[in-house]
Symmetry: C2
Subunit: 71 residues, 2 copies
DNA sequence: CGTGTAAGGAATTCTGACACG
DNA sequence: CGTGTAAGGAATTCTGACACG
């Protein structure tokens, strides 16, 4: 059961559109932060990025910290 | 923490391609079982289906039962 | 540096239908 | 009944580049 719990959180299964909707970030931002080695999506065989819920939380944390540093 | 655990499992965030890869089912099968009221994905504003990990487990359970009944 | 955007192509998704059995 | 498939269109995703500041 615990094992499954973790797999839900870390399983890379979510595509870009859903990520931008859940985080409020733009595609550009999400890809840029990947370029900066802040997030590491997997890729499907055709090159589509797939993120985990954990990745999404990470992105939201980064965004929040950035907001705080700007104010 | 527990609340988050459940949200990972039930959050509708996964699109068709990933579902077919995780379940081994065809798109046709997944859509047909929806037609039969066995699974209930959400839809994005543009009409794209989104499934949860729970949905995927359900689909795998259905597939497994079907396999057993055929043997 | 961090992000928006237009460009062009490729992969994904959708529906309704026909086929087979 | 349950599933495959071809059709056509729409939405998504990708990369590399230019722009701005």
């Amino acid at each position: 059961m615990l094992k499954n719990t973790f797999s839900y959180r870390y399983k890379k299964a979510i595509t870009m559109k859903t990520v931008t909707e859940m985080t409020g970030l733009s595609e550009r931002q999400v890809r840029y932060w990947e370029e900066k080695k802040l997030v590491f999506p997997e890729r499907t065989s055709s090159g589509i990025r797939r993120y985990s819920f954990s990745d999404i939380e990470l992105l939201m944390n980064i965004a929040e910290k950035r907001r705080l540093s700007l104010n």
